[in-house]
Structures are given as C-alpha cells and as structure tokens.
Amino acid sequence: MKNTVSTRFRLWDGVVMAAVLLAALCLFLVPLLRGGGKTAIVRVDGEIVARMPLSRDDELHVENNGYHLTVTVRDGAVFISETDCPDRVCEHTGKISKKGAAIVCAPAGVTVTIGKGGNDDADFVAG
C-alpha cells in the first residue's frame, strides 16, 4: 500500500474548494438574475396537477404519499404555508417567484416550479 495522493494541504486543495464554492454561487445567482415568472406549476409525482397564476392570491391543498401540503400564492410569490412532512424543507425554502425557481418536497413527491404562464415548460431540462 502506498499513498498516491499527497497527505498535506496543498494550494490546489484551496483552488478546488474555491472552484466548488464559485460554482455553487453561480448556480445560486443565475435564478435571481432571471425575470419573474407568471405561473406556479404544481406537480405530484411528475404529473402537473395545477397551474396557479401568481397574479391572483390563492391556496391549494395537495395530498400524496400520506402527506398534506398547502401551496399558497400571495403578493406575486408562491410558498408552502403548511405541511405535515417531517423534513420541512419545502417550508424552509420560502417564497419563490423567479423563473426556474423551485420548491421540492421529496417525501410527498411534490414540486412547485415557476413557469412563464400558458403552456410554457421551456425551463425544464430533461433530468
């Protein structure tokens, strides 16, 4: 057995960490630079169950896999106002309104994404 990798912190370790951080920052900033969307698209297990215009305050109850979620549209933004899912990731995501932004609740299999309106699904890339 031989160590084929250095075991002391090197300059390139810092470069790698900085590069990953930079990539994360870019990925974080790109959606913010995009314009606001017009519709919230609610999906359950990949199927679109509702399109909610962001211009009108509204509420929607979704139930799947034994979990309940309340999707709320208020003041041009959409957020999960209530859930009984233990992770609470979707709640913590907070309000979204920019194109391409998303709220995901993994246990319930529910996603909320922002589209332009109408039948626009162009901001979806095949996974």
């Binding site: 160590n3 090197r10 998303a102 996603t111 994404t113 901001d123 890339v125």
Partner: protein, 181 residues
C-alpha cells in the same frame, strides 16, 4: 514458489477488501445513528464516513477494489437499513463520486491532497443524488438545491479529506508493519 505467492496475494486482496467493506458498512450504520441532518435540516446531508474508506482503497490499492467495495456497500447498506428510494439515491451518488475519483486520479492527484479529492468526490456525490431526484420527480426542480448541497459538500468533503490526510500516513506505516510480519 511463485504460484502459491500469487494465490496468497489473491487471498490477501479478498480479505483486505472484505475488511474495508465491513468497516464501510459499520460507518454507514454509525451515520444513521447520528444523522447530520439534525444539525442541518436538509435531506441527503451526510458526512460520508464510508467514503473515507472508499477513497482510501481507491488511492492505496486500486480503483477496481474501490469500485467493488463501493458497489457492495451501497447494495448491502440498502438491504440492511435502506429503502428502494434510498438505494436509488445512494447508487447514483456513489456512481458519480466514483467517476469523480477516476477524474482526480487521472488529472489532479499530483496537485491535490485528499482534501481536494474528497471535496470533489462529495460534490460529485451530491450531483448524482440531485440527478436521482430529478429522475424520480421527472422534473428539473430539484436542481434548485444544488448550490446549497455544493456548499455542504465543501464542508463534509473537507472534513473527510482532513481525516484521510491525518489517517493515511499512520495507516500506511501500520499496514507495512503488518505485511512484514
């Protein structure tokens, strides 16, 4: 005798890989006992202690041994304390991390210590898991979490890499002593 020594080598390799597999499984179990997600409320946030061993095997012995250990670990861990979904997530994560290890071996190992390698492997692991989530939801929505998970990868990869940096020279000495006796 050359034949018997080659057979000895094979047995040694089998036992060694089996030992690393057991240790990796033990680490996987340890992590389910103390989930890091209690501190950071995000799904899929793990220190990845088992990956310390996979990375070690990859660079100490051979990528093939590491691939076998990694694949068996994912499979057995899923059978022992996972679900079909968690298996899918960890399989894609492990596969992506393994790919990144190969890239590090080809391009980076002269420049980096285990910290850089671990950070990249952790980032690869997260990308693999996000891909799994995208496939599962049939939507690109989960990629919105990638920036957060990449930041997490810097921390968890940094910690596991530091562990490897500290552990590697000592273990190297210990193993050499073991082989000579």
């Amino acid at each position: 005798m050359p034949t018997s020594s080659r057979a000895d080598g094979r047995v040694l390799r089998l036992c060694r890989d089996a030992a690393f597999l057991c240790a990796a499984l033990a680490f996987s179990y340890l992590e389910t006992l103390f989930p890091l997600s209690l501190l950071i409320p995000l799904p899929g946030v793990k220190l990845g202690l088992a990956n310390v061993l996979i990375t070690a095997v990859f660079f100490w012995y051979s990528p093939i041994d590491a691939g076998v250990v990694s694949a068996l670990r994912v499979g057995i861990a899923a059978l022992l304390f996972g679900t079909v979904t968690s298996f899918f997530f960890s399989a894609l994560g492990a596969l992506a991390a393994y790919g990144v290890l190969w890239l590090c071996r080809l391009f980076l190992r002269r420049f980096c210590s285990y910290i850089g390698v671990s950070v990249l492997a952790a980032a690869g692991h997260q990308i693999g898991q996000i891909t799994a989530a995208c496939l599962l939801f049939r939507s690109a929505a989960p990629q919105a979490y990638l920036p957060v998970l990449l930041c997490v990868a810097i921390v968890t990869g940094g910690v596991t890499g530091l562990l490897l940096n500290l552990m590697a020279p000592r273990l190297e000495k210990a193993m050499k002593r073991g082989q000579n006796t």
